[in-house]
């Protein structure tokens, strides 16, 4: 019964989104106040029904109601409760319902926090939001009904992919989706503004907090996924340029660009049409990400629920949303008169370069991801575009980006004095250069690119700190007062840039100086890696709630002093029967020791395949990202965004 209510409320939410997307829009275009008044209540109602629907599905998972096809396919009675719940969004139907739910949450937030927007813009934004939602509801009802029953129903479910049974991955999709779908708000604002024919500083001030919110979620979500891949897949890597990772990186790059170009619109009233276009592109990448993950067009290790038939619907939907909004853009963009002018050396120019590099990076990632597919379709040749390509192509674009990032915040708006700029920053530049060279020589040479990346990270960190110190005039009296009076948005920028610097240093360390040891070990064998000595003590059988495992123990010591015992596991899950590895990781400030245990020899079980990694500065990557997200949140709390703008910080 509850499941049927879920299905019914899903239909109601669908109907309400249709109403919200049409009647108030008609009212706004014909200036009929009564029709426009339907907008916000419809958004709240839609949220209400979407919550009920999602709760019904969650209920079915919690009580393991296997008469629901989706539950039978993806759950199991023995699964811990956390994974019964995370299984709700760990499958195709549930994740799309989850997407629609988040879309309606954002819709209701816009309805509530946007009450003092110009009425017609408010209504239009909500209408676009609802029309996107309508697409998702129809997709659910027509092709992927999560509430479908089976008869006769099975007594036990198939279980969830064991790799997904992990706390990191339980929370990765919600964060990522909050980010993906958050970009729908900026999209709706962009399309709404195109219909209105007006983009101004006030519009940009509206859009920025929503972009920031989406960006924070995206950053956190991507990193959580990356962290999961790092400790769960057991290859010691944290980014594989897998199509699904790329699908989340593209909207992130576009959102980052949007974040910066919206500043130009707000401060200088220029780059307007570009910013609107970017908002459309960012959300298009989000939709494309869903398409890539869900249609199975690129079968990948991440795309657990793939089904090409549904791809046709998504493709049509994509065509309508992206094609339609781009068409509207083409028709209306000329209405957006460019405002403030700027010289080649100016803050605006720096931000244009930022936008150019980030957008090109996003397109290159897209191109590289789709290239094998395109080539296969046109010529029949099969080639692989693997991590080496992306590392080279992406790196090529990130080097100038990091260089400009160090300079950008110190450049004046409109027109800057190049000589003054050079003399102010040359000290920082030379310091980071000298430090890099020293380090390179001390570390005994090696890959020149390692030094380049380390140097870039250092340069970004120092220049960011330098700009902050200069801004608060740190050596003059009253610096503390000035420090506390800094607008939160600028403080957030400093944090964001500094976080990236820390992450880049971590990436350089982990990518270029990591060492690896791979061998067969018997009990009592010793190995040395990254300054640690490990002794393989023994193995033990362990039984979990829905798996059995072999747990190995390694005593770790450094210079003869015992530090810790690491216990990696090799698990075999019962349903579905599948082996996974649980790496044991010893994280320190200077690097991670990563231990994976593999199979034993078939006779005797006294020799085991063991893989050890030492990943220098690995923890810097995660810390850097946390600093970036904190920066985003600080920015979000800026007072300016709250005057007549959404509070944002909610949830």
């Amino acid at each position: 019964m509850i499941v049927e209510i879920g299905h019914y409320t899903l239909i109601l939410a669908c109907c309400l989104s249709f109403i919200q997307g049409t009647i108030p829009l008609y009212g706004a275009l014909n200036n009929k106040g009564r029709l426009m008044a339907v907008s916000a209540p419809a958004a709240y109602g839609q949220l209400f029904f979407a919550i009920l629907s999602f709760a019904a599905l969650m209920y079915a998972f919690v009580v393991s109601d296997f008469s629901v096809a989706n539950v039978a396919r993806n759950s199991h009675t023995l699964k811990p409760m956390l994974y019964k719940i995370s299984a709700v969004w760990g499958n195709h139907e549930g994740s799309i319902l989850f997407w629609a739910l988040i879309l309606s949450i954002y819709g209701a937030m816009v309805a509530y926090f946007g009450r003092n927007l110009p009425k017609t813009l408010h209504v239009k934004v909500l209408a676009i939001q609802a029309l996107v939602g309508l697409g998702f509801y129809l997709f659910l009802l027509l092709t992927s009904n999560p509430f479908e029953r089976v008869y006769p129903f099975p007594m036990e479910g198939n279980g969830l992919n064991p790799l997904l049974q992990d706390p990191g991955l339980a929370f990765h999709p919600p964060l990522l989706y909050m980010g993906y779908v958050g970009l729908s708000v900026t999209f709706s604002f962009a399309v709404g503004a195109l219909i209105e024919g007006r983009v101004d500083a006030a519009w940009a001030r509206w859009v920025r907090p929503w972009t920031l919110l989406a960006w924070c979620f995206l950053t956190a979500g991507i990193t959580l996924g990356s962290w999961w891949a790092y400790y769960e897949l057991g290859w010691g890597g944290w980014w594989f340029w897998d199509p699904v990772e790329n699908a989340s990186l593209m909207p992130w790059l576009a959102a980052t660009a949007l974040l910066h170009s919206a500043i130009v619109v707000e401060k200088r009233d220029t780059l307007k049409s570009w910013t609107v276009l970017l908002a459309i592109i960012a959300f298009s990448f989000s939709l494309l990400g869903t398409f890539i993950v869900r249609s199975g067009v690129l079968t990948s290790v991440h795309a657990f629920a793939t089904d090409p038939e549904r791809g046709v619907f998504i493709l049509m939907f994509l065509f309508l949303v992206i094609g339609g909004s781009l068409l509207l853009f083409a028709l209306r963009a000329d209405k957006l008169q460019p405002g403030g002018l700027f010289a080649p050396i100016s803050r605006e120019s720096m931000l244009v370069i930022n936008n150019l590099l980030l957008s090109v990076a996003a397109v290159v990632v897209l191109f590289g991801t789709l290239y094998p597919l395109l080539r296969d379709a046109f010529t029949g040749d099969k080639i692989t575009v693997g991590p080496p390509f992306f590392n080279i192509a992406f790196g090529f674009l990130m080097i100038p980006l990091l260089l400009v990032m160090g300079v950008g915040p110190s450049v004046n708006w409109k027109r800057a004095d190049l000589k003054g700029l050079a003399s102010r920053l040359s000290f920082v530049f030379l310091t980071s250069l000298a430090a890099t060279i020293c380090f390179f020589i001390i570390s005994g040479g090696g890959d020149i690119m390692a030094a380049v990346w380390l140097g870039l990270g250092l340069w970004l960190a120092l220049s960011t700190l330098f700009e902050w110190a200069e801004r608060i005039k740190i050596f003059k009296s009253g610096a503390i007062k000035r420090m506390s009076r800094q607008p939160r948005a600028s403080l957030g920028m400093s944090f964001g840039h500094l976080g990236l610097a820390v992450a880049v240093i971590g990436m350089a360390g982990s990518s270029f100086w990591s060492t690896e040891y791979q061998n067969v070990m018997a009990y009592g064998d010793k190995a040395k890696i990254g300054g640690y000595e490990l002794e393989f003590i023994d193995t033990d059988g362990v039984t979990g709630p829905n798996y059995t495992a072999v747990k190995a123990s390694f005593d770790v010591s450094k210079e003869g002093i015992f530090i810790d015992t690491l216990e990696p596991e090799a698990r075999v899950y019962l349903t579905p029967p599948m082996p996974t590895t649980e790496a044991a990781i010893l994280s320190t400030f200077s690097g991670d020791l990563f231990v994976v245990i593999g199979e034993a020899n078939s006779e005797g079980y006294d020799r085991w395949a063991v893989r050890l990694y030492y990943k220098p500065l690995q923890i810097w990557i995660w810390s850097g990202v946390i600093i970036m997200v904190i920066g985003g949140l600080i920015s979000l709390s800026d007072r300016r965004f709250r005057t007549g703008a959404p509070k944002g910080g909610k949830k």
Binding site: D242, G386, G598
Partner: protein, 155 residues
């Protein structure tokens, strides 16, 4: 369903403990084994997604590892070993696409896109740049500026 099944099979193949198994024969010379491992990292496990043959424990990946070691033992240098693999399995086996007529667009795409982007920016700014002349402020504007500056400082 067929897809889910095949995907499942793929995953069972591709994720498991460790690629290089216990019973696998390694090359006696550690330097040669290191070279072999380096080559393996550049080769794709053909039945997996986005995994090198070092990272995969699929049966095919194991066969490929054996072939790589055989090539090294036979005295191939890195280039010869890789070209032996591509002659057998095509360019698909290389994780890094070769730079040739078919991939030149791919490899040059970052540069080309940047040039096009800069050109568009240049064109759109060129027409407007001439207007960037700083006109002196009128007396009224100047007093307004002073007023605002005063407001900003004296809170």
């Amino acid at each position: 369903m067929r897809y889910i099944l095949s995907l499942f099979v793929l995953m069972t193949l591709s994720f498991s403990a460790l690629a290089v198994g216990v019973d696998e024969v390694r090359l006696a010379d550690p330097a040669e084994e290191a070279r072999a491992q380096g080559l393996m990292k550049q080769l794709r496990c053909l039945v997996c997604q986005n995994q090198s043959i070092v990272d995969s424990d699929a049966a095919l990946a194991k066969d490929l590892r054996i072939i790589v070691r055989e090539r090294i033992t036979a005295g191939d240098n890195d280039e010869q070993a890789l070209s032996f693999m591509t002659s057998r399995y095509g360019d698909w086996v290389l994780l890094k696409p070769p730079f040739d007529g078919g991939t030149i667009i791919l490899w040059l795409s970052p540069l080309l896109l940047l040039i096009v982007g800069f050109y568009i920016v240049y064109r759109s700014q060129k027409g407007r740049q001439t207007k960037l002349i700083v006109e002196p402020l009128s007396a009224k504007e100047q007093s307004r500026v002073n007023e605002l500056l005063k407001e900003g400082n004296g809170d």
